[in-house]
């Protein structure tokens, strides 16, 4: 049976969810990985396929094409700014965001940024847009800082999202993760989203859980994956059990199938 807990977003509940996370976690073996690969290979794709929790929640429906905007840049810059503040506690969030922006633009100026990257977009953005990007990133980082200040256990801002490339299936899976809490041999992963959770928030969390386990070199699942929706003031979480991992993998494959069906009439 799969798990899904719903709580109000308060320091007490977040700490309770972290402390009560199961000690024993499921582990994905090579056989599991091979099985998943076989299923993805069976769903043909004309080009490279990228799946994440959002595509699972949207049942594979394609949204608008991605474009950089203050709202899409805020998480990358905000998380990086909070990492800076964790290392240099005297720095303000606004100062850290400005430093991060400067670093990104320096990358573009020195030729290390490719077309379409965040650095490239920032380097060509006008002054007011950079101001709005700063405001959005400050919002994100401050919100995350308030959450982490209430966490009793040791935490760190995740260095990057979790990625898993499914061998020979032209499929890349991506799981969002913002804060990681290491506990002995296990970890609890916290993911922050804007808006409010919909009916498919549970499957989305399970997809992130499964991808996080696949991206781990030993295949160890997080003890618990906690999804926070600060704008709605709620949190949901799923446990790293084999039932949840299976459900997550099943939803990812179903999403790939749904995507293929949506594109099939166009191909015909």
């Amino acid at each position: 049976m799969t798990s899904l807990l719903h709580r109000r977003l308060t320091d007490e509940y977040v700490n309770e969810l972290i402390e009560s996370a199961p000690c024993a976690v499921a582990q994905l073996t090579d056989a599991h990985r091979r099985s998943l690969t076989a299923r993805f290979r069976a769903v043909a794709t004309p080009g490279h396929r990228r799946l994440d929790a959002w595509s699972v929640e949207q049942a594979g429906q394609r949204g608008r094409a991605f474009r950089w905007a203050p709202a899409t840049a805020r998480r990358v810059l905000g998380n990086a700014a909070l990492r800076r503040v964790a290392v240099q506690p005297l720095t303000t969030i606004t100062g850290a965001v400005r430093d991060e922006l400067a670093d990104q633009m320096l990358r573009a100026a020195s030729g290390y940024a490719r077309d379409g990257s965040l650095s490239y977009w920032l380097a060509s953005a006008p002054h007011p847009v950079l101001g709005l990007v700063t405001a959005e990133a400050v919002n994100w980082a401050t919100q995350l800082q308030e959450i982490t200040e209430g966490i009793h256990a040791d935490w760190s801002v995740a260095p990057s999202d979790a990625y898993y490339d499914v061998a020979s299936a032209r499929t890349t899976l991506r799981a969002r993760r913002d804060v990681v809490i290491d506990r002995d041999d296990t970890r609890v992963v916290v993911r922050v989203r804007s808006g409010s959770p919909g009916k498919s928030a549970g499957p989305g969390l399970r997809a992130d859980l499964t991808i996080d386990a696949l991206a781990d070199h030993e295949g160890l699942a997080p003890a618990r994956l906690i999804g926070l929706w600060p704008e709605a003031g709620v949190c949901l979480c799923v446990d790293g059990t084999m039932a949840d991992l299976r459900a997550g993998a099943r939803d990812l494959v179903r999403t790939a199938v749904a995507q293929r069906r949506q594109r099939a009439p166009l191909a015909a």
């Binding site: 977003l9 308060t10 847009v129 101001g131 700063t134 405001a135 919002n139 308030e146 704008e231 003031g233």
Partner: protein, 265 residues
């Protein structure tokens, strides 16, 4: 008409800071009671029925009855409000504004891409556009002189959104506060909510202030310290300390609005 004084008689930063020694202890107990009051009240209006489309309330829903028309909600009035909000966002992170209209428009286009209001703006003729730009300059000067510099240590967050589902999702409260400062993790109440309007302050502004405080309390389970609203048309600033009676009054206003929306369905 917008008038400008020689110097701003008020300081928003001073008003938000208040007397630090008189801040009350943080209240984390009232939110649950307020939520229950709302849930019970909504049940009395809607009953146990599960709505396929929820009733959505915003701060603007409290300003007027559903059947009336407000001149401030005209396309140009809304445009001015949106652009002033963009200016506040830029000022909150210390960005200097060179040309209020151009800077605000540039930031807004980057944020939303395209929408009806932008299309309305694009349809304005040169005279209307120039009038809007001049008007916005005046609002921007009033705002920037009253606001001053907001210390980064106060953790300013602009355009802070909140969504609260009540009564099993039958009613959804949506809110956007122009500027939130302070944090919820200290021992004393320190969150201040700051709202900007381009119209003169009136009864509707008071309801909005209370609504912001209520939704913030429901979202964070922590009562804010004070709620303020500033008119860039008149330079007036209203500040109210948040207490249970203020929030209870907002609960009544929300329930009254739910009743109106339910009757209008």
């Amino acid at each position: 008409m917008t008038t400008l004084l020689e110097s701003s008689p008020i300081s928003v930063v001073d008003a938000l800071r208040g007397d630090r020694t008189k801040r009350p202890l943080i209240d984390t107990a009232s939110a649950a009671g307020l939520r229950s009051l709302l849930d019970d009240g909504i049940y009395e209006v809607i009953g146990a029925e599960r709505l396929t489309t929820p009733l959505v309330l915003r701060a603007s829903s409290l300003h007027q009855r559903p059947a009336t028309t407000d001149i401030m909600t005209s396309g140009t009035g809304r445009l001015r409000g949106v652009l002033v909000s963009q200016i506040l966002r830029l000022l909150s992170v210390g960005v200097s504004i060179d040309h209020a209209f151009d800077d605000a428009l540039c930031a807004w286009r980057a944020e939303v891409g395209t929408n009806d209001l932008l299309e309305h703006l694009d349809q304005l003729d040169d005279d209307e556009r120039a009038r809007l730009a001049t008007d916005l300059d005046a609002h921007c000067v009033t705002l920037s002189r009253a606001l001053g510099e907001i210390p980064a240590r106060w953790r300013p967050r602009s355009a802070a959104r909140a969504i609260q589902r009540l009564a099993g999702g039958n009613v959804v409260l949506r809110d956007v506060v122009d500027l939130v400062i302070g944090n919820t993790t200290s021992d004393v109440a320190s969150i201040a909510l700051f709202d900007v309007t381009t119209s003169p302050l009136g009864e509707g502004a008071e309801r909005t202030m209370r609504y912001h405080a209520l939704v913030q309390t429901l979202r964070t389970s922590t009562m804010p310290l004070r709620t303020c609203t500033f008119s860039t048309a008149t330079g007036e600033l209203w500040v109210r300390d948040v207490d249970y009676s203020l929030l209870a009054r907002s609960v009544d206003e929300v329930l009254s609005c739910v009743q109106d929306l339910w009757s209008a369905r």
